[in-house]
């Protein structure tokens, strides 16, 4: 028998670490990586609950989350590159203007 509750707690820990990363880091790329970590912790929760509830729908959801994450990373990193071209920095404290 798998320790389902402990695996859910692992998901909560990873999600909290991701939130802490978004809150304390100033580097846009590391903030983005923390968001990826949060997406992964949600995936873990989906898979554990899908197994406990004898259903495969949770695994299908994880599949779609991964698809959206891949598209999101491509667009987000392109945005970071174009922001770097404008300001020569990716410190989010210094990127504070809406216009270029």
């Amino acid at each position: 028998m798998i320790p389902a509750t402990n695996l859910l707690i692992l998901g909560a820990i990873l999600f909290s670490i991701g939130v802490i990363g978004v809150l304390i880091r100033r580097n846009a790329i590391v903030i983005f990586m923390s968001i990826e970590l949060m997406l992964n912790s949600v995936n873990l929760t989906f898979i554990v609950l899908a197994r406990q509830l004898h259903s495969l729908d949770g695994q299908i959801f994880v599949f779609f989350i991964m698809t959206v994450a891949a598209a999101e990373v491509a667009v987000g990193l392109a945005l970071i590159i174009s922001a770097y071209r404008l300001r020569a920095t990716i410190n989010v404290d210094e990127i504070n203007l809406l216009n270029g």
Binding site: F15, L23, R26, E36, Q52, S55, A71, V73, I90
Partner: protein
Amino acid sequence: MVTVLLYLFGILAILSALGMVFHRNPVYSALFLVVTFFSLASIYALLGAQFLSIIQVMVYAGAIMVLFVFVIMLLNLRKEVRLPIGKPAQVIFGVIFGLLLFVEGLLIIKSGSISGTLGRYPQAKVNVIGNVEALGNLLFTKYLFPFELASIILLVGMIGAIILGRKKMPKEL
């Protein structure tokens, strides 16, 4: 045996996630995140989700992290690496609020139990028909429309990345 391995990979995932958040150099952060993704892939495999485990390694640890490392190497981050990770007050409050969120999640998990109508795919049955085949059956029947929409999302993501990553906008646009 499975339980021991689950705890081992869980601890590895937590430690490397902490390393990712608190390491100053973004390249090391990216490598720590790869370790987290690999240990999560191992946990998925131990939970009987073999297909998602392989996809995790291929899409996350492979494609996405290679993209991250490429972008980190494309940008000149020497100045940022020398700075501390955040202002001291920001770090303190960030950690406090993160811990509060974790306690909240812990209370939710501890107060409830996993219950609900059981589905038609218990693990023993999935092991007989095979994880990939069972997932494929669902994906191409019940979830066919979302599957097609996912391809459009990937197309939009690709076009957006190409347009945003161009050096200069042409005059006529």
